[in-house]
Each structure stands twice: as structure tokens, then as C-alpha cells.
Amino acid sequence: MARKDDILKSFLTNGLLESKYELKREELPSTVREALNSDKPIVKAIALIIEGLDGTSPVTDSVLRNQVTQFLNEAL
């Protein structure tokens, strides 16, 4: 398992996703690639952040912010 997938797993096992967003563990993606295609905005947002920080081409803070904010503003 790639390091970024490990990181994603650590985040997605947080109880808040289950309690507040009603996301079931078995439904959660196991890779960042899968998460980027998730229809759950919070999952995809987290995946975008991981990709931005630990992906093949890390991005600057403002780019990261624009990417994630734009996605959320449109998705929500």
C-alpha cells in the first residue's frame, strides 16, 4: 500500500465520518485514486488534499486551497 493510501486510511477511519456523515467503513475507498472519484464531498476533499501534499506533484497552499474550495463550492 502506498504511503498516501495509508494516510487516507488513517483519516477515513475517524469516527466523525461515520457519526456525522453516515459513511460506512466498508463503503470507504481504500486508495486515493478511488477517493478522488468518490461522490462524498468530504472524502474527495480529503483525497484532493492528500494528492496535493503527498502526490506525485505537490502543490502550493493557494493552489491547494483553490482546488479544494472550488470543488466543494460546486459539489455542495
Binding site: R3, S10, N14, L16, I46, I49, L53, L72
Partner: protein, 716 residues
């Protein structure tokens, strides 16, 4: 990674070339004190960290002595390391040129690097880079330890947190929590800006924002107070715990000191009361007159006798005087009180003529020799003649018998003394009383001195039983009471601060909810939803970072305790506990030894050393797990406080750990008292190891002459 070989040439006691062909696993280097162990460690340390100064101090005196003036030789420390199937040789060296006897100049040092691949091809590389690549500074920090004291690297409160945060599993989540906060703050700002565009709520919004800002500052302030109070409480509790072990002794000491002070005061009073200045008494208090009565009696008798004699003399004198006056009076009566003729009438010649003629020519009568008339004239002549003789000592009839009345003064003196005799008779009693008083006080004094000695012995016993010095023991009781008061006050402060914080947090939450309400009514709904998601993402990131940190600490704690129990097998050890503390703007990790949840009171050095080593082994193992790479560890005399048995157990434990370890110890060596010959004890045979060396000075040598010093390396 393992160190395959260390070669030391002409470095201090290592004369000429000395090679340590090391093995994987446990390498033990035995050596008596002063025979080259620490110099081995220092040589390796010089290779890693040595500076380019005072190099002449590192030159082997024996080599220098053997070198001709103007000849040179190289001082060198070289290490061959194997990593990922490749060999690297790092050599640090400098040239020493003999200038005079016992003096040399040196070149700057150089670091050479050679890389050798698996097929044996060698390439020259930059030595400094190679060294940094093979031994990064964060690895070196936890790889080399000199003595037991250096093992306690985690006593600095930030050291462990820094170490833990260096582990990738922990550090990689730092940036997520930072970015989570950054994104959340930006989304909050977007919502705020959107809300502020709605002028209707602007006044309320600004008021709430300023209120939130004020409350946030208040909260920060009280958090600082609260945290520092918790710190203080912990410190006070530690002090109290420390003091509790001594407080009964301190209490006893306090009582004893009071008693000793009381006795000393009594002794001082007694000493003041005992007046043995008898010389002063002899004169000032007339003690010298204690036997005066006898002399006074003799004196009085003599004065009395003298007085009587005087009175008798006076009486006789007075009688004589009376007789003379009576005679005068009788004569006067005889002359019918007529005035007699002067004593020279008739003249001497007339009287002699009349006596010769035997006729009184005054009254014209016969004055025959022997007759009354004749005798009368004769008497008259005699009287005249006597009147003509000058008698010096003839008393003047008018003068008293005694011109001065000394007798009377003697009488008075005697009487006065008689009067004083009553007081003088008391002197004997006074002397007796004073001597008795002084003796009684001296007896009291002796008793008190004995009591004082006993109390002081008891005090010494108490101080002897205590682990701290007397002055500190005295302070313990004072401090103990003060600390108890402080603890009570600080606990109350903590409750107050916690309550205040809770109130502020509630108020802050309410204000934020008020702000959120305005946001909900004023800002764009998608911005609010985006912000809410960012809030949750930040929470998830921070929670995860904390969880990873906690997991790492748990793992470190479990591994440390596992090593700790093994080193101290069958002994009571307590438990190594890592505690995270949130300080202002940072988290620290503290490590301590606990027994039943309480701080282990003054663990001995051996236990502390094994605790520190256990933590280091745990870190090393964790580093290996994460980096999939083992790093060697070098310890110089890490087990000085261990006994030989415990050292053996410790070495057997290390033998089972994975990474390479090089241990320099002075155990398992025996010196024959008679022959002074060194040998290795049989017990060493049972110590499991991968390789062992013995560094010993070449015999004979002169301990005062460095030129004779050469450490030999014997591979066992």
C-alpha cells in the same frame, strides 16, 4: 547497516596500526580503566565530529618519539561500513611532522570516501558527504553514548517530543493538521466576508467578532494560567513526595534541634551563673580577711595593754604633776603666801660666804654646820646651782605627757574592727555557699553536657539515616509545610481557572453560534457548507495527528518496558511511563519511572541506566522498523553502575537485539594482586556475543611517560 572495520593509526594510545574487525550483532571491547577503551570511542567520535584544531594533541607520543626530526607520519581513523550490499570506507586523517623532540606540526585533516559496489569496484567519493549520508545527524544523536550520564538524553522536556516528531509516521501528519487549519481559516474568512457584505447585520456582526476576539484572548490567558498551575502542582507534588520520605526524619530532627537548643541555652545560663573568679572575691569581697579574727584579737589585746600602760603613765604623770603643784602650794602657805625671793637672792657668793662663815648674814644668826639654818642656806645654794644647769630633756611642766593620742586611734581602730568582725565571720559561710553553689551548677552542667551529647548522637543517627544533608533536612520540614499550603492554594487556583475557562469556553461557543446564525442568514449557503466541511476536515486531521503520536508513544513505551524488564529480570523495576503534556504552543513528552502510578522514588543509578538504555534500544528498534534499516550503536562504559552479573544479563539481552552494537566495558577483567597480571575472567565465556576484543596497554610501561604507552588490540 553495519560497521565492518575500524582502523586507528597513531591516534593517542593507539600506536601504529590497530584494527577492529567488527561483526554484526554484539561486539564487546574489554579494557581496564586507562588502557584504551575511551580513546577508541573518542577516535570514532573524532571521525564523526572532530574539529580541525589542536590536532597535535591527538598524536601518538610513542610514534612521535620514534620518528626522526623532520620526518612525518599519518594519524588516521578509518571506518568501513556495509550498507545495502555496498561497502563504504570513510577515512579521516592528518599528517604529523616532527619538528623537535616531543613537538610536531600537523596538517589540516582530510576526509576521504571510497565506495565499493557488490562487484568490488571502488570509486573515490566526497568523504564528508559519504559520512553524512551514512550517518545522518539524527541517527548519530542516538547512536553514540559515552558513560552513563549521556544516556539520559530525554531529561530535557523537548527532547522526546522532538525525537518522536522526527519519526515519519508522526511527522507526516503535522503538515495535514497545518493545512487543515489553513483551509478552515480561509473558508471562515470567505464566510465572514460574505456576511459582512450584508450591511443589515454588520453592527451585530462586528460586535460579536470583537466579543469573540476578547473571549479568545481571555481563554488563551486562562489556559496559560491553568497549564502553569498544573505544572506547579506537579512540581509541588514531586517536592512533597520527595520530602515525605524525609519528613519523619525532619520532624524528629526539628524536635531534637529544639531540645538541643534548650539544653545549650541552659548550659549557657549555667556558665554565666558559675562565678569562679575567686581572686576578685579574695579582694573585692574581703575573703582574704576570713582568718582576720585571730589577728584582731591579738591586735585588740595589744591595743588594750598598750592603752592600759598609757593610762598608768598618764596617771603617774598626773600624780607627779599634782605633787609638784601641792608642794608649790605648801611653800606658798609657808611663806604665808608671801612672794618668795628670786632663786638667786642672796647671791651665790653671799651664800658661799655665809656657809663658810657659818653665819646667816640675812638674819644675823649663827648657822653652824649641820644646823637647820646652815642646811637652809645650802639648799638655797643648791637650788640656785641647779637652776643654772641646762637640762635638755627636762619636761616642761606645762606640756602633756603624750603629745599625740595615737593610742586612742588604735583603740578606735580596734573597736571598729570588732564591729566588722560580725561581717567577717560571715565570709566563711559565703565561701562555703559559693563553692557549694558552683559545684552544684557544675554537676548540673555535666548532666546537661551528657544530655547534649546524647541528643547530638541521636541527631547524627537521624541525619545518617537520611539520604539528604542536615541543612536540607532542616529545610524539608519548613518546605514540606510550605509546599502543602502551596499545593492547597494551587489546587484551588486550578479549580478556579478550570471553572473560569469553562465559562469562557461556553460564552465563546455561544458567541460563535451567534456568529454562525448571522452567517447562515447572511452568507452564501455553499460557502457555509464548504466551511463546515473544512471544519470537519481540520478536526479529522488534528485527531489523526494526535492518534498517530499517541500510538507511537504507546509503542515506544511498550518496547522500552519490554527491554527494561528483560535487563532487570527478576528484579522490581517499576514501569517506564511516557506522558504527553500540552504546553503553550507545543506538546512535550516526559518520561519517568513509576511504581503503581506514582513516581518511583529515587531509583538507583543502575535502574536509571537500564531505563535509559531500554528507551534507546526501543527507539533504535522503532527506527529500524520504519526505515527498514539498522543502525549501529556504540556505548562507552554504559553499565558502570551494574554489577558483573547484571552486566552479563544485559549483554545476553543485547545479543538478541537486531542491530549492531559496540560496547566498551571494563568488566570481566581480573588483576592478579601479586604479579599485577591482567586476565579475562572465566565468567566472560558464558557471555553471548558475536565478537570480542581486549584492549590493553603493552607491558611494561611507565604510567608517567606517554612515550611508553601503546594500546594493543587483541581479538578474542
Amino acid at each position: 547497516m553495519i560497521i565492518r572495520k575500524i582502523q586507528i593509526d597513531n591516534y593517542l594510545c593507539y600506536y601504529d596500526t590497530n584494527t577492529f574487525e567488527l561483526s554484526e550483532g554484539l561486539n564487546i571491547i574489554l579494557g581496564e580503566n586507562g588502557e584504551g577503551k575511551t580513546k577508541f570511542f573518542e577516535a570514532v567520535d573524532w571521525l564523526f565530529n572532530g574539529e580541525n584544531r589542536e590536532l597535535e594533541m591527538l598524536v601518538s607520543a610513542k610514534k612521535l618519539n620514534e620518528t626522526e626530526i623532520r620526518d612525518s607520519f599519518r594519524v588516521r581513523v578509518s571506518m568501513t561500513v556495509e550498507q545495502y550490499g555496498e561497502k563504504s570506507i570513510i577515512t579521516k586523517s592528518f599528517l604529523a611532522k616532527k619538528e623537535k623532540a616531543n613537538e610536531c606540526s600537523t596538517s589540516s585533516f582530510m576526509i576521504e570516501g571510497i565506495s565499493e559496489n557488490s562487484s568490488g569496484e571502488r570509486t573515490q567519493v566526497d568523504g564528508t558527504d559519504l559520512l553524512k549520508r551514512i550517518f545522518p545527524s539524527e541517527i548519530l544523536r542516538y547512536s553514540m553514548f559515552k558513560g552513563e550520564a549521556e544516556l539520559s538524553i530525554f531529561e530535557n522536556e523537548d527532547a522526546l517530543a522532538t525525537l518522536v516528531s522526527n519519526f515519519p509516521d508522526v511527522i507526516r501528519y503535522d503538515k495535514y493538521s497545518e493545512k487543515g487549519s489553513f483551509l478552515r481559516e480561509k473558508s471562515e474568512k470567505a464566510v465572514e466576508d460574505s456576511s459582512k457584505r450584508n450591511k443589515k447585520n454588520l453592527a451585530d456582526y462586528n460586535r460579536i467578532e470583537s466579543e469573540i476576539s476578547r473571549l479568545q484572548k481571555e481563554k488563551d490567558k486562562y489556559e496559560v494560567h491553568h497549564n502553569s498551575t498544573i505544572d506547579e502542582i506537579r512540581k509541588i507534588e514531586e517536592h512533597l513526595q520527595d520530602a515525605e520520605k524525609n519528613v519523619s526524619n525532619a520532624d524528629a530532627l526539628d524536635i531534637l534541634n529544639k531540645r538541643i537548643r534548650g539544653i545549650e541555652e541552659k548550659i549557657s545560663d549555667l556558665n554565666v551563673n558559675i562565678d569562679e573568679n575567686y581572686t576578685t572575691f579574695l579582694f573585692d569581697e574581703n575573703w582574704i580577711l576570713v582568718n582576720f579574727e585571730l589577728f584582731q584579737k591579738e591586735f585588740a589585746d595589744k591595743v588594750s595593754a598598750h592603752s592600759k600602760t598609757r593610762r598608768e603613765l598618764q596617771s603617774n604623770f598626773d600624780k607627779q604633776k599634782g605633787v609638784k603643784e601641792g608642794e608649790k602650794k605648801a611653800k606658798a602657805e609657808l611663806l604665808n603666801n608671801a612672794v618668795p625671793l628670786p632663786i638667786g637672792v642672796p647671791s651665790k657668793s653671799h651664800m658661799e660666804e655665809m656657809l663658810n662663815d657659818e653665819i646667816c648674814k640675812v638674819c644675823n644668826r649663827e648657822a653652824k654646820k649641820g644646823s637647820e639654818e646652815y642646811e637652809f642656806i645650802m639648799k638655797r645654794l643648791k637650788s640656785y646651782l641647779e637652776s643654772q644647769v641646762i637640762v635638755d630633756n627636762e619636761p616642761d611642766n606645762a606640756e602633756p605627757l603624750f603629745k599625740f593620742n595615737y593610742t586612742n586611734r588604735l583603740d578606735n581602730l580596734s573597736i571598729s574592727h570588732e564591729d566588722n568582725l560580725k561581717n567577717l565571720r560571715l565570709i566563711r559561710t559565703k565561701i562555703k555557699n559559693l563553692f557549694e553553689y558552683n559545684e552544684a551548677r557544675k554537676s548540673d552542667l555535666a548532666e546537661l553536657n551528657e544530655q547534649l551529647t546524647n541528643e547530638k548522637i541521636e541527631r547524627e543517627q537521624i541525619v545518617g539515616k537520611s539520604s539528604i544533608a542536615e541543612e536540607k533536612l532542616i529545610d524539608v520540614l519548613k518546605n514540606y509545610n510550605a509546599w502543602q499550603r502551596d499545593l492547597k492554594n494551587r489546587n484551588q487556583d486550578q479549580v478556579d481557572y478550570a471553572m473560569k475557562l469553562k465559562l469562557i469556553e461556553n460564552e465563546l461557543r455561544e458567541r460563535k453560534e451567534d456568529k454562525d446564525k448571522i452567517d447562515t442568514n447572511s452568507a452564501n449557503s455553499f460557502e457555509i457548507r464548504t466551511r463546515n466541511i473544512f471544519r470537519d476536515i481540520e478536526t479529522i486531521f488534528i485527531d489523526t495527528k494526535k492518534k498517530k503520536f499517541d500510538e507511537f508513544i504507546d509503542k515506544l513505551q511498550n518496547k522500552s518496558n519490554s527491554f527494561f524488564k528483560t535487563i532487570n529480570i527478576d528484579a522490581f523495576t517499576g514501569t517506564i511511563v511516557f506522558t504527553q503534556k500540552n504546553k503553550v504552543n507545543r506538546t512535550i513528552v516526559e518520561v519517568e519511572l513509576q511504581e503503581d502510578g506514582r513516581t518511583f522514588y529515587k531509583p538507583n543509578q543502575s535502574l536509571l541506566t537500564s531505563m535509559h538504555i531500554s528507551i534507546l534500544f526501543a527507539i533504535s528498534e522503532l527506527a529500524s522498523e520504519i526505515k527498514e534499516e539498522n543502525f549501529p550503536m556504540i556505548f562507552d562504559a554504559p553499565t558502570s553502575s551494574f554489577g558483573e552479573n547484571k552486566t552479563a544479563q544485559f549483554l545476553n539481552l543485547i545479543f538478541e537485539t537486531e542491530n549492531q552494537k559496540i560496547l566498551l566495558i571494563k568488566d570481566f577483567l581480573h588483576t592478579d594482586k601479586a604479579t599485577k597480571t591482567l586476565s579475562i575472567k572465566k565468567e566472560f565465556e558464558s557471555v553471548r556475543r558475536n565478537k570480542a576484543f581486549w584492549v590493553k596497554l603493552e607491558r611494561p610501561f611507565d604510567p608517567n611517560n606517554l612515550k611508553t604507552i601503546n594500546s594493543q588490540v587483541i581479538t578474542l
